[in-house]
């Protein structure tokens, strides 16, 4: 075992070819063409004011005023150039780099806003747009973080929606009864864990198909909360359904930064928890013993078992922690956003969070960024409402879902789920 150990260098190496997808340039080209068509068919007069300043800035930036349609055409040209660059990359058998897509997206977005806001009497509130992006992303980010933890442990959690809703419901009651937003937050976590525990019992202990359990749980939570809402919350709304909310807590100095300061650092405690939760989940998954074992049972439970890791216990740990995380996201609805619970108020956010998990390739940071992107789509809708954009509101309601479908269908690229994701561990 000495001389022959390093076997004679193999003369043949595996050949790699780069598989270049034409998706990216084709998608860019179609977006450019569609946008050009839009502004050609519906040109708009006047200029657009982007309001950059808000109260409390150290420096007050002047508003950015641009001619609407002309700016939009400039953006079309920029987009066309970037599309050509993307085609050049593909022709050279190389992958389209991220910056091309990123700059393209920014150019089209800016062009669209310039076009939509043209001639409007109101300023376009840039800072508010960022503020709302972060705010609306809260349930999505917590939902996707929970999804990532669960799926990394090998349990697919379709019930994020149900956990968010249960969190919102219990947070409403707890906060109303105690007059404490913190109590609401804690109750929401407990509710998330409770739903997770039911998921765990069926999916882990009884090895029922995880997708089915998740769907059933969603329906169950919707049914239960709707029933108790009309039977209990509505009759005594004063006592049970008028919550004490978290108010904004500006962070000194940081909140004074122009544009982003008020948007990012004049938020509620729940948002700051989100800022901390993302790196915390990343650290727990990739730098600790707990995370290593959790990922092991999600990738190859049998291998984990043979080194003495209790697979089912580990999966429970993952699912329950995930439930608590999602619960915080649910609390957002009733102790941050509005001050009362309403039927089915999560409106599919859990499913968007699930999409963010996949879009983020089962990585906490990427999933959170995906959640932020989807939050941005919702925020954009609100901003366009303010300036009175000439786009039907139904279409704008669709926006986050369209972005989700495009993101999941076309731009995820090669992504690989944990190998044992969704599979119950059955000892032979």
């Amino acid at each position: 075992m000495t001389a022959t150990t390093n076997a004679p260098a193999a003369p043949v190496e595996v050949r790699h070819v780069t598989v270049v997808s034409r998706k990216a340039p084709i998608a860019l080209a179609s977006f450019t063409a569609l946008f050009a068509l839009l502004i050609a068919l519906a040109p708009r007069e006047g200029s657009t004011n982007f309001r950059l300043a808000s109260d409390g800035d150290f420096v007050t930036l002047p508003a950015l005023v641009v001619p609407g349609t002309a700016t939009a055409w400039v953006c079309v040209v920029v987009a066309a150039v970037l599309t050509a660059v993307a085609f050049a990359y593909v022709r050279a058998q190389r992958k389209v780099p991220l910056w091309v897509s990123a700059v393209f997206a920014f150019a089209l977005l800016f062009g669209f806003l310039a076009w939509a806001g043209a001639g409007s009497a109101r300023d376009f509130p840039v800072s508010t747009l960022i503020f709302n992006t972060v705010l609306l992303a809260v349930p999505l980010v917590f939902g996707s973080l929970g999804g990532v933890i669960g799926e990394r442990a090998g349990v697919v959690n379709i019930a994020i929606e149900g956990q968010l809703l249960a969190g919102a419901f219990t947070a409403a009651i707890a906060s109303s009864l105690t007059d404490s937003a913190w109590a609401g937050l804690f109750a929401a976590m407990v509710a998330g864990v409770t739903v997770a525990a039911v998921l765990g019992v069926f999916a882990i202990t009884y090895k029922v198909d995880q997708i089915i359990v998740g769907v059933v749980l969603n329906v169950l939570v919707i049914g239960l909360t709707s029933f108790f809402y009309s039977e209990v919350l509505v009759p005594s709304a004063e006592r049970l359904n008028s919550t004490t909310r978290f108010g904004p807590t500006p962070i000194p100095v940081l909140s004074g930064i122009p544009i982003i300061g008020p948007a990012l650092f004049n938020q509620t405690v729940v948002v700051y928890i989100m800022y901390l939760a993302v790196p915390a989940v990343w650290f727990a998954l990739f730098r600790t013993r707990w995370g290593l074992r959790l990922r092991a049972v999600g990738e190859h439970p049998q291998a984990a078992d043979t080194v003495g890791i209790k697979v089912e216990r580990m999966r429970y740990a993952g699912v329950l922690v995930a439930g608590a995380v999602v619960g915080i996201g649910g609390a957002f609805y009733t102790i941050v956003s509005v001050s009362s619970f309403n039927k089915e108020m999560t409106a599919g956010a859990g499913f968007i969070a699930l999409a963010a998990v996949i879009f983020g390739k089962w990585h906490p940071v990427r999933a959170a960024l995906a959640g932020l992107l989807f939050g941005g789509a919702s925020a954009l809708r609100n901003a366009l409402d303010i300036v009175g954009a000439p786009v039907p509101s139904q279409f704008m309601l669709m926006l986050p879902y369209v972005v989700t479908i495009l993101a999941v269908a076309g731009f995820v690229g090669q992504s690989r789920a944990p190998a044992a994701d969704g599979q119950p561990y059955i000892k032979e």
Partner: protein, 506 residues
């Protein structure tokens, strides 16, 4: 440490997998556990390792009775196991895999990866090999993965090491190196259990041999007993170890494969410019260590994988780009590598599986209706002809043994008029009796003038069955040589080393 198993009995329902098995392994010896697939060797070791709980009997270490509730307990007691299917997490690094389950952490809860790296390097150095602790498992060749498994066991100070069919995935050279590692471990005082069904290996390293058949110990043997005797003990009757076949009589049919190329989704060229010709009446064995493109090659031949280049011409007709149904309709019989996922529908009956490829029309389907009469009489004939041991044609196919399942696949594929037979690993996980039968039928097909392509990872089978042998390595053809080529030359070819002499590249 001395290992003793006393009267171990393990039942699965009505099946007695282990029946009163007793076994003693002394420190400093290599104890071979010889038996066929399904004889109960792996079950016994899983009992020892705490994965199963024995119904009766006990495990003793140095004379003390042990009660393992799980692998964790067995490991803590000093037992290490290298499983047949590696228990490594492909997306983890070597160091992460080695530390998994007994991680050390730094203050703040961070994993102490440096300690794991040091441990990997230290053990690797002791055995004179090199493993990069930060390499991802999925990027490593199987031979190296196995070493990681060994490092994993030794990093927990295992005194008793169990190797379950460790050589199945290795080239002959890697096997030799592995034997050397095993001897070194023995000389350092470890007690080693070596599970195998390969007689050659047993005779090479075994200090003692215990033969197991149908869950029972049938006796001890010594390494100097002849192959036929060991095989007879293992199988329970005299066994024909060679394949009887005459010189090939070439027929008119032919398969010509030219520069065939298959690229997997991540851009790896898994079949890279493969060219060969098979004439009617000969068997071409595609040999090589598993995972060198053989699976993809056979799938590309029948159209299951899209060829990214090249051509497959059967009797003058181009097959590349045609749908699978058309390829099969052109007279191609295909025995897939994994019968349980690709060859059979487990929940279906024997009769249903036998007609699975003929849903298109008469005699089994008329006006969209299944013809049960013709189906059943066809199935009864096939069961009779292929000696399929089943309780009836209405039995679920998943309830048959591996060998009988494979006979169902073979019966289906051979019951049509064939112009080409492609069989991927037709005897894997099949008992010796069925192997003999399957080999016989393959040779009969060849003698009927059909070109036959067989994929095999077992050198013995390749040499016995093939008229010529094509060796694949990393997606490419290393050479096409006559089956009389010496074993060590074939072994070198399996490691990617091109033979010195000119080969008859057909």
């Amino acid at each position: 440490m001395k290992l003793e198993l006393r009267g171990i009995t393990k039942r699965f329902g009505t099946l007695v997998a282990n029946d009163q098995i007793s076994l003693t392994v002394e420190p400093g010896e290599i104890h071979c556990l010889l038996g066929e697939n399904g004889a109960g060797k792996s079950t016994l070791m899983n009992v020892l390792y705490g994965l199963y709980t024995a119904d009766e009997g006990e495990v003793l270490l140095d004379g003390e009775v042990q009660h393992f509730r799980g692998p964790g307990d067995a490991m803590a007691a000093g037992i290490g196991m290298v499983h047949q299917h590696f228990m490594l997490i492909p997306v983890f690094t070597v160091a992460e895999n080695v530390m998994l389950g007994h991680e050390t952490t730094l203050p703040g809860g961070r994993l102490d990866l440096d300690a794991a790296r040091t441990k990997v390097n230290e053990i690797a150095r002791r055995f004179g090999f090199q493993v990069d602790p930060d390499a991802l498992i999925e990027d490593l060749p199987v031979g190296v993965q196995q070493r990681v498994e060994i490092i994993k066991a030794l990093s927990r100070d295992a005194k008793i090491l169990v190797f379950d069919e460790p050589t199945a995935v290795l080239t002959p050279q890697e096997t030799d190196e592995f034997m050397q590692i095993m001897r070194q471990l023995r000389d350092e005082g470890a007690a080693i259990v070596f599970i195998t069904h390969k007689l050659r290996e047993v005779r090479e390293v075994a200090d003692r041999i215990t033969v197991i058949r149908r869950g029972q110990v049938v006796g001890e043997a010594t390494a100097d007993q002849p192959d036929t005797e060991l095989a007879a003990m293992m199988v329970g009757r005299a066994v024909e170890l060679t394949v009887q076949k005459s010189a090939p009589k070439y027929g008119a049919n032919s398969l010509v494969v030219q520069d065939l190329e298959v690229t997997d989704p991540s851009g790896i060229v898994v079949v890279d410019g493969v060219s060969f010709t098979v004439r009617g009446g000969e068997v071409l064995v595609v040999a090589g260590v598993q995972g060198n493109g053989q699976t993809e090659l056979t799938e590309a031949l029948v159209g299951l994988q899209k060829a990214s280049g090249g051509s497959v011409v059967l009797d003058g007709q181009e097959m590349v780009g045609r749908p699978v149904a058309e390829v099969l309709g052109a007279g191609v019989g295909f025995v897939p590598e994994d019968r349980s996922t690709d060859g059979l529908v487990g929940e279906f009956t024997v009769a249903e599986n036998l007609m699975l490829d003929r849903r298109g029309g008469p005699p089994f389907v008329k006006a969209g209706m299944l013809q049960l009469g013709p189906r059943d009489s066809f199935a009864r004939d096939a069961v009779e002809e292929f000696d399929i041991r089943t309780q009836g044609i209405g039995e679920q196919v998943s309830r048959l043994s591996g060998g009988n399942q494979q006979k169902v696949v073979l019966a289906r594929e051979l019951s049509r008029e064939l112009r080409l037979l492609v069989a991927a690993q037709p005897t894997r996980g099949v008992d010796v009796g069925s192997i003999e039968f399957i080999h016989k039928r393959i040779v009969e097909t060849r003698d009927a003038g059909v070109p036959v392509v067989v994929v095999s990872t077992e050198l013995d089978e390749a040499v016995a069955l093939g008229d010529r042998i094509l060796v694949m390595y990393r997606g490419r053809v290393v050479g096409i040589v006559p089956s009389t080529t010496p074993r060590d030359e074939l072994g070198l070819m399996m490691a990617g080393i091109t033979p010195q002499k000119g080969s008859d590249v057909a």
